[in-house]
Symmetry: C2
Amino acid sequence: MNHKIYFTPGPSQIYYTVPDHLKNAVKEDVMCISHRSAAFQKIFESTRASLKALLNIPDGYEIYFTSSANEVWERIIQNLVIESSHHFINGSFAKKFHQFAESYQKDATTTKVADGADYESLEVPDKAELISVTLNETSIGFGFDVEKIKKLRETYPEKLIALDAVSAFPAVGFDLNLVDTAYFSVQKCFGLPAGLGVWILNQRCFEKYEKVKEAGLVTGSYHDLSDLKANGDKNQTPETPNILGIYLLGKVCDDMLFRTPKMIQNDTIYKATILYQALEQNAKFKPYIDSKTTRSKTVIVAECEGGNAAILKVLADKGFIIGKGYGSYKDSHIRIANFPVHSKEQVEMICDIIASF
Amino acid sequence: MNHKIYFTPGPSQIYYTVPDHLKNAVKEDVMCISHRSAAFQKIFESTRASLKALLNIPDGYEIYFTSSANEVWERIIQNLVIESSHHFINGSFAKKFHQFAESYQKDATTTKVADGADYESLEVPDKAELISVTLNETSIGFGFDVEKIKKLRETYPEKLIALDAVSAFPAVGFDLNLVDTAYFSVQKCFGLPAGLGVWILNQRCFEKYEKVKEAGLVTGSYHDLSDLKANGDKNQTPETPNILGIYLLGKVCDDMLFRTPKMIQNDTIYKATILYQALEQNAKFKPYIDSKTTRSKTVIVAECEGGNAAILKVLADKGFIIGKGYGSYKDSHIRIANFPVHSKEQVEMICDIIASF
């Protein structure tokens, strides 16, 4: 059998430079150094600078590290919401964030449409302090229309907007000025081992945090926003963090900067286009999202006539491991990750297999 | 200059098998596989089994993975305490846990003695639902007398006892039947890259958790105890976890099982003995903890006449990186980690340098 290449929507194939960076990490004692050492501070600072350049993060936005995007959901609810958040939901991950808000006993409202359907109304209740938008809904391959985010920003200038950028950054370009906070985990488009989340916030979030404190709410402990900031300002973290993860993230950001974000984003569009084309041209498949404007560029989802078992097997036999459907779509959908590590040549091979299936 | 060997009290020198395990992890696609795959379930199951064997974890105790010991502090407070916890404090880490309880607005009481002093009274307020004990206070090198833990257990059979085993397990043997929950992070005695915490709990904790739920309290979200259990029962985690960390932990546990816990613990005692001896025999040093019964076996702390700069430099010139003091002792103390990765030969060399300093 060929060596496997993972087109699963995260964890996915690791970026091709990761094994070399791991070797260097051993050589440079990255796993041995203290998180209070100057050596760690340098790694932290460098990774933040590389992320800022790669994602074009505006001045005034802070970057912190958590253990996962799940953790960021929790920290957003603890630190930025007093009573009410509003969630746009048409898939499982947006739904999960809403459930987190409910677990924290918030008055969390929703705009819920059928899985994969677009949102017709952008109305948000007055009471909502924060609006949650999922840029790329990994469960069903839906991409939130950026024009609608602009519209939300214009209509509700007083509310915070939180962007779930999991499976999107940096393969999908985005102007972070449109939102107040954004977050992602690194095992998707960054091609890194899981166990690290990135949380980006602007100054309005810090102002809101002060109000949450004034209201006397619990804002967490070691990853309370003030602790993250007090330590982050010194290029440190409150706890002993995933130092290796932070190091690898910085290195892969540098690799991606060398390739340029524009090139990565253009390649992403090309690969997505040929994948959707191949799926549309074979009657056995149907892209799950109808509208081309809201089809995800990074997680290509299709319904499979008679279930996904046969195509999963044919691709696996060639070494291509793609994803099953999410949740109730487990056996009926396929999900093909289209991340920066996945080369045009590999994607073309998958398209050929789909065409002749 | 020689290659460095880290005797810092965590992160510390990585276990000598880690680089090989990392290579295998790349080869076996550990960083690519889905956390919902059978391959991950196998890793999860295997790591739990190895930990159970290595730490002699009694039946009925569950094992979960978090991102750090800091996170476990937070989860204990959220999941196991309704109103009040009690904390034995004679150093910075026990103090920090108490602060976490206060951040969560608990009525958290303390038995506070001077840094490094032993506890004379073991009295705990009636209202305390959980007693926090730090087996090895890493900040000042104090080892909690196990006889006193037995006494606490006898005196307060109704209260939960939570054991901070950071920097202790598996170098220090302990009968887990004496406590209800214990936790540690892996960058100390396990010699692993930071970013993983281990949380062990017995059935009494689950019963207490039900009461916390009944009281209507917030118990967290993805790392709420019921979510950890529902997923753990399937050899899975609620979120995408630090899969590489869980894999490496299992591998290093196996290596340590091969060496046997008894051998590791005996070596630890031998190395601690010669280190304290060397420090006592040179008038320029004084072990910070007076009583031999409460001296840490794994983090050897000493006061240095005229500050620690000179000895740190002499050791560093030979490639031995030891720790500075913690917090206010930064410049006056040295802290020498005595973890399973640190060989008798290396420790003997450090003793020689201390003797001739």
